[in-house]
Subunit: 466 residues, 2 copies
Amino acid sequence: MTTIVERLSSSLGHDLVLTGTAIVEDDAHDESLTAAWHAPDVVVVPESAAQVADVVRIARELRAPLTARGSGTGLCGACVPRRGGILLSFRRMSSILEIDTENQVAVVQPGVTLQQLDEETARHGLIYPVFPGESSASLGGNVATNAGGMRAIKYGVTRNQVLGLQAVLGTGEVIRTGGKFVKATTGYDLTQLIIGSEGTLAIVTEAILKLYPRTPHAATIMAPFRTLQEVTAAVPKIVSSGLAPMIVEYIDQMTMRAITAASGLDLGVPDTIEEAAQAYLVLVLEELDRTRLDENVERMGSLINDLGSLDVYVLPPHAASSLIQARERAFFTAKAAGANEIIDTVVPRAQIPAFLSRVFEIAMQTQSPIFGCGHVGDGNVHLSVFQPDPEKLHDTLSSVFEAGVAMGGAISGEHGIGTEKRSYFLELEDPAKLALMRRIKAAFDPDGILNPGVLLDPDGAVAGRN
Amino acid sequence: MTTIVERLSSSLGHDLVLTGTAIVEDDAHDESLTAAWHAPDVVVVPESAAQVADVVRIARELRAPLTARGSGTGLCGACVPRRGGILLSFRRMSSILEIDTENQVAVVQPGVTLQQLDEETARHGLIYPVFPGESSASLGGNVATNAGGMRAIKYGVTRNQVLGLQAVLGTGEVIRTGGKFVKATTGYDLTQLIIGSEGTLAIVTEAILKLYPRTPHAATIMAPFRTLQEVTAAVPKIVSSGLAPMIVEYIDQMTMRAITAASGLDLGVPDTIEEAAQAYLVLVLEELDRTRLDENVERMGSLINDLGSLDVYVLPPHAASSLIQARERAFFTAKAAGANEIIDTVVPRAQIPAFLSRVFEIAMQTQSPIFGCGHVGDGNVHLSVFQPDPEKLHDTLSSVFEAGVAMGGAISGEHGIGTEKRSYFLELEDPAKLALMRRIKAAFDPDGILNPGVLLDPDGAVAGRN
């Protein structure tokens, strides 16, 4: 370790290389419920891509594992440092380099937070439409995990917004991919390959992001349904209505009670309906002008009514924003309630009813209470699993993931694999694809120094490390 | 060659392996203006992914180059067979396997044409929104080149519509990527990597495509401007208007004259305006209902007027569709007029005025007339270059591509690199990225049998071929 610290200090200067008591507790963990905390041995806080490249070259030479970290709001352990490795924190690379209104793009450093970017784009009447529910999250982390969130049904996820990157490969080479243009067929799409690779292929040092005009008017509709099946069965019809909702969420009864209680929110639903409602649908519509919005709300309301809802509420602005915020905090509400794991399996939208039926069978069989809410318009359900016994928890998750994959889905819609879902991923994925992914990994990172132990590597070891 | 034919015939049966006079002329070329025709030595017409895998394994064993082909409407030589190689034609794999209305996806074989898919989706009130201007193009070819077209400004390109693939790697392994879901963070995005790889990484045998509700009402606006600079300068404001146009094209004076003459179209523009108009802006708006459409047309019309147009025409339906069709045929009009090359450089939207200024300087310097039209909303300009001398043509193209790349763009927005733009690509691309792409290529296709000579390989040779 001494050698690593010396080499880093002599290259970057002592100020940018932290050890011992200079390391803050926050750098030891992400928000995952299961990943073990581990204080990093050394933290570097680079100020430029050239410095990141220096760090990569030193790590490569010394075969030291290198983990990049943004705000640490991830949910699968992907930015928790490896033992004996280097943690690279982007807290000093957190500038919005440019808001280019003519091309409708932002150019940001990886440490920029969603909150910071939202405040800046708002000044220009523009918006970066990815809202994964945690506005302190960094853009670098969002790129690494292909962050999603509630508005993905209309705008897509991070993958759909990133037009270009600057990134450092595991070789230490700095490349630029894509650009301020929306399409190209000029070689392999390296931008898309790096997005969602959880820090295992390259370290992102800059991103070009697509911005959109900020739509001025929005309305929130909440509809209680007798059963969860009715909610999920309604979704394909809502999506194909042409009314282009910005948010299509479901919240089950238990979760709704928990999040409204946690935020002291009274939505004004009569007791009789609240008792009968096993699940809620929450929709947000947006429009350029108020009249059209009102018309759309009217149309959507009658569609939902036809689909069997117990009632339809158009929430007043304050209640609406409180509900959306409470929904965004659902993860922390579940965590506070003692959930042992929170997962986000994605399945084809129309398979949600069958998937949730199977989930509840598994919950009964394994005696693990499972509650949820989620981006039902995207087929992405977020489930809180209550099962304190680690072995039983593993079996429960295994069965849920297996069911999702068997229905044509994937383990994670937006949280990622990290260290915490790796064993399930390696078990359920086609071995031919895993072998291909390992070859791709080697193409970017020949010595396996970038985030070993995340996603693919079975034992966290760096190749040839001694 | 005899060995190859024998091995293929014994594996697939004689009916699916064509040689000599059984090979049709169409299989010898694509629509590129410069690629040399070459009749294939052997054509295989597989009926299943398993048969494609057999062909790949035989090609690998015999180190024979393997080129996949859809409808052959490509523009850069990427599906022209290599000498001594195998041409794989998807004419017998042309079924729409499923229109899943609940999940709003289509599952297609690679030989399905856009026309065929459009007719089928229309029956369900849905649409596949990629219209690259040639409806006989196949979906397999569209995936290989990441096809774009006029509606990309609203819906995105092929890359944005493909949710999953079945594909055969250069190893002969058959994999499935993605699925009927809109997002995932579960391993590297192999779907996105294969899209646009021009048959060099894998052979696509099935694709899952995103469908959209078909919007019932549309209107076409045409606005003549005094200068091309005024048109291109107007574009960022139109894109950021929030009116979400489906098409934003520009057509220069020469091209407008050529395409209207070729299609016998009279748009009713008075002579005085036609003479003053150096360029036209063509917009299509669409909406759920007629009233909103009319309002949007009104708003857009006054915006365009404020931006300095000579006039604003809302075209009657027949003229509108004729103009869009004529624009779609612009490539063939230019070809008939004797253009020596047609290119489709992409630059950041706001850089189009500067880029086109530079293009006209190059045209003057090299005495090569250059006219154009294009997806100006996407920054993707299509230029017809008239220069019969091959060396001068090369220098002209080289200068244009260099200018585009220097302004933050890329050589091709949607046509691809193929064999015909490869030398420019290899010259202008960062060597570190080229080396990375070659390593990625090797991860998919260790022996280099998939479309050698396209995109990367400098001499078209298959590794270890004797």
